[in-house]
């Protein structure tokens, strides 16, 4: 597929994306759009962003050949893009650094963020500390329960964590509450949105700040195996790590792009978080995309073992990539993700995030039927230390 020039000026990816917000926020989004348009062509801004990625985040992150696990599966070779080795333990920091630098350019001294698994909250609190900004993180009270180490981490970093008690008390409600804060404090506050979703220009700028993942892979894979992989696999909640690794590969022929959604207790049970696999187009959180909703257009509660994938919508560029056929989207249920989690621990000595375990599980599903000369590149988007309580509980292990 040829490279495309999307989103258009109004933030649309075909029928998806856009700016579906209350009037109060329109001017703030216009300001962000204008500022980003200047910043993205400003060599000083880009140099500082790259400098921070190298010296603060520790980029480039390596690619690692999971040799023992590949052998055990008996088929394609599995390569892991090690975003789990980034400072703060996930890909989220690539984006929060970019947005915090934008916030500083715009003279905003207060930043807010929503978080599900807590990875984006930690990454936001981290950059707020790094650049001397006030930080408030909104987090569903259900997620606070299942991700307590990250809550403490955010507090250590000086952020205020606000428990959100409305709706399903998860990521979508945290996003609602962050939007309400922003509409109230729009002049003093920069909203650091954590995924490639939300109103334009967020899906575009989050993609641009995350594409470093895929850009590095384009160079690293030929260095390692003399060619590009046969498929690139990433988990999709809102879709930021996936778009980050997919985007540079879109014009590369012969590379399949596979997004893995959270199948929860199984697509057929309705208890999942897989809008691309089982949803319909709708409008939520400022953009149009696939959405989990009932016949009345009410957003329905999602379920996933992983808090970071527990979101009823998905970034608009993924909706567009699905319709265009350039990327394919599948789902992995809780049990399969958990099995992959344990396997990576045992075979490779790496504890993956439950989110990333969905991508690993899909690699494990398709690798055995492929030849040993085939290569699968999996985005290991985060490390799993935050998930050990959840895994212990689900696996009947006592800590």
């Amino acid at each position: 597929m040829q490279m495309y020039d999307l989103p258009d000026a109004q933030g649309h990816f075909g029928p998806y994306g856009g700016v579906f917000v209350a009037e109060t926020l329109v001017a703030a989004l216009d300001e962000l759009k204008r500022e980003y348009e200047v910043a993205r062509h400003d060599p000083d801004f880009l140099a500082e962003y790259r400098h921070e990625l190298k010296h603060y985040v520790g980029r480039p992150s390596p690619i690692y050949h999971a040799r023992r696990w590949s052998e055990a599966l008996g088929g394609a070779q599995i390569y892991l893009k090690r975003e789990d080795l980034n400072h703060t333990g996930a890909h989220k920091i690539n984006n929060t650094i970019g947005q915090a630098l934008l916030a500083r350019r715009m003279g905003k001294k207060r930043v807010i963020a929503e978080t599900g698994a807590g990875q984006h909250g930690v990454a936001s609190a981290t950059v707020a500390a790094r650049y001397g900004m006030e930080c408030v993180v909104y987090m569903g009270s259900e997620d606070i329960k299942r991700q307590s180490p990250n809550v403490f981490r955010m507090k250590l970093l000086g952020a205020k964590v606000v428990a959100v008690e409305s709706g399903s008390k998860t990521l979508k409600d945290a996003l609602n509450e962050a939007m309400r804060d922003w509409v109230t404090n729009v002049e003093s506050t920069f909203y650091i949105l954590g995924t490639a979703a939300g109103p334009h220009p967020y899906p575009m700028l989050v993609r641009d700040f995350q594409r470093v993942i895929g850009d590095e892979c384009l160079t690293q894979m030929p260095e390692m195996i003399g060619r590009q992989p046969d498929a690139v696999i990433a988990c999709v909640g809102g879709g930021s790590n996936a778009i980050g690794i997919f985007y540079p590969y879109i014009p590369v022929d012969g590379v399949r792009l596979i997004g893995v959604e959270a199948g929860g207790r199984g697509i057929r049970t309705g208890q999942h978080a897989a809008p691309l696999s089982a949803g319909t187009p709708g409008v939520l959180h400022g953009f149009r995309s696939y959405l989990m909703q009932d016949g009345n257009g009410q957003v329905i509660e999602t379920h996933s073992i992983s808090a970071g994938l527990d979101y009823p919508g998905v970034g608009p560029e993924h909706a567009w990539l699905k319709d265009s056929g350039r990327a394919e989207y599948v789902s992995i249920d809780d049990d399969e993700a958990l099995a992959a989690f344990h396997n990576l621990c045992r075979y490779e000595g790496i504890i993956p995030a439950l989110e990333s375990s969905h991508a690993l599980a899909h690699a494990a599903r398709i690798a055995p039927a492929m030849g040993k000369d085939k290569a699968l590149l999996v985005n290991l988007s985060g490390r799993g230390d935050k998930d050990i309580d959840t895994v212990a509980r689900l696996s009947g292990i006592e800590l």
Partner: protein
């Protein structure tokens, strides 16, 4: 002339300002909505705003969020809200009804189906919080074709040059959001409201309603000195919340009557 335009014309002739109360359809229970609408009219309401319950009311404060949740517990959706409007219309032919809500329930029903059903139900206007003009020109055209007034928000943050863009699509009246924040917030700055309205008046001949943060008769009166209409939402929803089933209709009517008296003084 639409019912909304006729209402504003009649009020202007009497040198009066419009009072627009808001309730969420289905709050506290579906069978209370039509009696509440009649109670609002009995108290002196000129136009009714009927909230369409939505699972993710991003622009609403805690009070209207709770109203939405109570209605959703009864499974109230857009179709039910249209049925309630139709029932109200059987016994009230003159008071305009404006639906206020979010885009997704309308998207789920489909624009054509919604416009047809709303017109059929005797609905007069639609205010969709997350449909700014950039995303709703086609929807606005369909509304106009069905005889529905598409009502748009303007905010303190709206740049002057944008007011004209919004005014071009707007019909019925312009809803000026009196503060930066969600519905039901406590801080309305009267001077700021007064300072913003002339630019809007200059861009449109439509009446201007002001809402968000108007909690008592006195503030309503002060706002009415600079605006054509006053919208009161959260404060009325609170009245519903704090009433027993027996006192609810009277309490709501009396509250509205108090605001009416202050406006007409």
């Amino acid at each position: 002339m639409s019912r909304i335009a006729a209402t504003f014309t009649a009020l202007k002739a009497q040198n009066k300002k419009a009072l627009i109360p808001f309730i969420t359809a289905g709050d506290p229970a579906p069978d209370r909505t039509v009696p509440l609408m009649h109670a609002l009219v009995a108290g002196g309401a000129d136009i009714l705003e009927l909230g369409v319950p939505f699972s993710d009311p991003m622009a609403d404060g805690p009070t209207i969020q709770r109203a939405s949740e109570r209605a959703l517990k009864h499974g109230v959706g857009l179709k039910d809200v249209l049925a309630m409007s139709a029932e109200f219309r059987q016994t009230n032919a003159s008071t305009p009804v404006v639906l206020m809500g979010y885009a997704n329930p309308i998207e789920a029903m489909g624009w054509d189906a919604f416009c047809g059903a709303a017109a059929q139900a005797g609905v007069d206007g639609v205010l969709t919080v997350d449909y700014p003009p950039e995303e709703s020109a086609e929807f606005a055209a369909k509304c106009a074709a069905a005889g529905l007034d598409n009502i748009y928000l303007l905010a303190p943050t709206t740049p002057v040059e944008r007011i004209a863009t919004v005014a071009k699509l707007a019909r019925g009246f312009i809803y000026y959001v009196s503060l930066k924040g969600v519905t039901g917030a406590a801080t309305l700055d009267l001077a700021e409201v007064a300072a913003h309205l002339p630019a809007i008046h200059a861009a449109t001949g439509l009446p201007i309603g002001v809402g968000f943060g108007i909690r008592d008769a006195q503030t309503a009166r002060q706002v009415a000195e600079v605006a054509d209409a006053v919208v009161i939402g959260s404060r009325i929803v609170q009245e519903i919340e704090n009433s027993t089933p027996e006192t609810m209709l009277n309490n709501v009517k009396n509250f509205v009557a108090g605001v009416r008296a202050a406006l007409d003084k």
